[in-house]
């Protein structure tokens, strides 16, 4: 058991920096995912068919493609194509683009949950369609999507582990754990602490989401 604590104490700075990088990756990707997700969800409820189709194609492409393939395309592929994209941007960007498809679907379900009656009412009051979306539908829809958004946040934390070990795009928690392991060969101890790190993030997010859910839920 003493070996377990020894590994943590000796390599704490590395574990910590990996932990922080994981949070940075997820935070950056989350911003991308939510902004883009709202745009794509908006496209998918447009009255214009070509816009709807564009939204559908986005969702079906990014939801069905493996994140790892996306990472290869975003980093190695674009670099060879002559686009100088930074490692962090490629990693967090891919994760964001990937998750945006799920966010868009979650928001769309939320938009449908608002109900046609309210949309009709807003339109009959002279609101334009974009304005109805922005002022009537989205504020309500965003509350309804807090629980699914929380689940997506947890999925992002888990998915972010791919970024470091697959293409060395970031020195996140799992990457650091692998580096420490290759020096110490104390696989069980090193991975135990990495697991603790990930569980703090994922289980912690679960609790935050449950709290927000209780606070913000709209009672109908």
């Amino acid at each position: 058991m003493s070996g377990l604590w020894e590994v943590l104490v000796r390599h704490f700075p590395q574990f910590l920096s990996g932990f922080v990088v994981t949070i940075q990756l997820v935070a950056a990707a989350f911003v991308v995912a939510v902004v883009l997700g709202v745009v794509v969800a908006g496209l998918r409820v447009q009255p214009l068919a070509p816009l709807r189709l564009a939204g559908t194609i986005y969702v079906e492409f990014f939801r069905n493609i493996p994140l790892l393939v996306l990472l290869f395309i975003a980093f190695a592929g674009l670099r060879r194509a002559g686009l100088d994209i930074s490692r962090f941007a490629a990693g967090a960007g891919s994760l964001g683009l990937y998750t945006a498809a799920y966010v868009a679907e979650a928001i769309r379900s939320g938009v449908f949950a608002v109900g046609q009656g309210q949309i009709d009412a807003a339109l009959s009051l002279g609101f334009t369609y974009p304005r109805t979306l922005r002022m009537i539908v989205l504020p309500q829809a965003i509350r309804t999507v807090i629980p699914p958004l929380g689940n997506l946040m947890i999925a992002m934390i888990k998915n972010s582990a791919i970024i470091g070990v697959a293409l060395a795009l970031a020195d996140d928690l799992l990457k650091e754990a692998r580096v420490i392991n290759s020096r110490t060969f104390q696989t069980n101890e090193v991975f135990f602490w990495a697991a603790v790190g990930y569980l703090i993030l994922t289980v912690g997010t679960t609790f935050v989401v449950r709290y927000l859910e209780r606070r913000l839920v709209i009672r109908r």
Binding site: F61, F72, I73
Partner: protein
């Protein structure tokens, strides 16, 4: 954009053995996926039943097990298993494995890959199934008991058929995720679609014939990605069709409990 659609950058696709090589790799992903899907569904159902057990301690232990595995990154589990399985086990596995099994089984890391996929996905699926079982009205179980059905009989005949049917969309979503996650096995050195794609790009042309046609990484991985998109898209359509048929048959909307399910425009 011109880089993407330039015909010269697409020549590799039909040069030499490239396309066949890519599809062979993809077939390995599918084999791993099918095996892991079957194992995860079976293990997931078992875990879900334990999770709704009548004994509090069984519930608690299973609950902790499920929560730990589904909250860890899959790649973390995979990497840990591949690093911690002793080499003697790996050689023993390779000696044991019969030659007639598909190519995917040959790698010494294959058991670690399938075990990781199953550990993670069975935990997620167990949670989905539990939600389905517990979403049923209490009256269902009570009525079954009043009719004199034993616990297992009421589970098998009354609770599970209804509870699991509700969870088909969420379960299929998870199976699609599993299918995508088979690409992660490339990280622990199993030859599959992504490794084959890299071989094609790095030999700039066919890995066997050396046709010398440049194979840009962007284009190769786009094709690989589209293979996954095609299969997963078909899976999600299939699940939606099942759901619509179910709704027509039963005459009522199938209740959905959790999961980010995609809704049809006509729904």
């Amino acid at each position: 954009m011109s880089y993407l659609v330039d015909p010269a950058n697409w020549e590799w696709l039909f040069a030499g053995n490239n396309l066949r090589f890519l599809l062979q790799g993809f077939a390995i992903n599918l084999q791993i996926a099918i095996l892991a899907m079957v194992l995860s569904l079976v293990a997931g159902l078992g875990l879900a039943l334990l999770r709704v057990s009548r004994w509090a301690w069984v519930k608690a232990v299973t609950g902790t097990w499920i929560d730990v595995w589904r909250n860890l990154p899959l790649i973390f589990i995979m990497l840990y298993l591949s690093l911690s399985i002793p080499e003697s086990w790996r050689t023993a596995y390779q000696d044991l494995i019969p030659a007639w099994l598909p190519d995917a089984f040959d790698s010494p890391f294959f058991p670690a890959a399938v075990a990781a996929l199953t550990l993670y996905n069975s935990a997620v699926i167990a949670e989905i199934m539990r939600a389905g079982i517990q979403s049923l009205e209490k009256g269902q179980g009570e009525a079954a008991a009043a009719l004199g059905l034993s616990y297992w009989k009421s589970m098998r005949l009354v609770i599970l058929p209804q509870g699991l049917r509700r969870m088909v969309p969420a379960t299929v979503s998870q199976l699609i995720t599993l299918n995508k996650d088979t690409t992660l096995v490339s990280i622990i050195a199993i030859q599959e679609a992504l490794r084959h794609s890299r071989i094609i790009t790095s030999t700039s042309g066919s890995p066997f014939l050396g046709v010398g046609v440049d194979a840009p990484l962007l284009h190769v991985f786009l094709v690989t990605g589209l293979l996954f998109v095609a299969v997963n898209f078909a899976l999600s359509r299939l699940s939606r069709r099942l759901e619509v048929r179910e709704r027509e048959r039963s005459g009522i909307a199938v209740e959905r409990v959790t999961g980010i399910e995609d809704q049809l425009d006509t729904a």
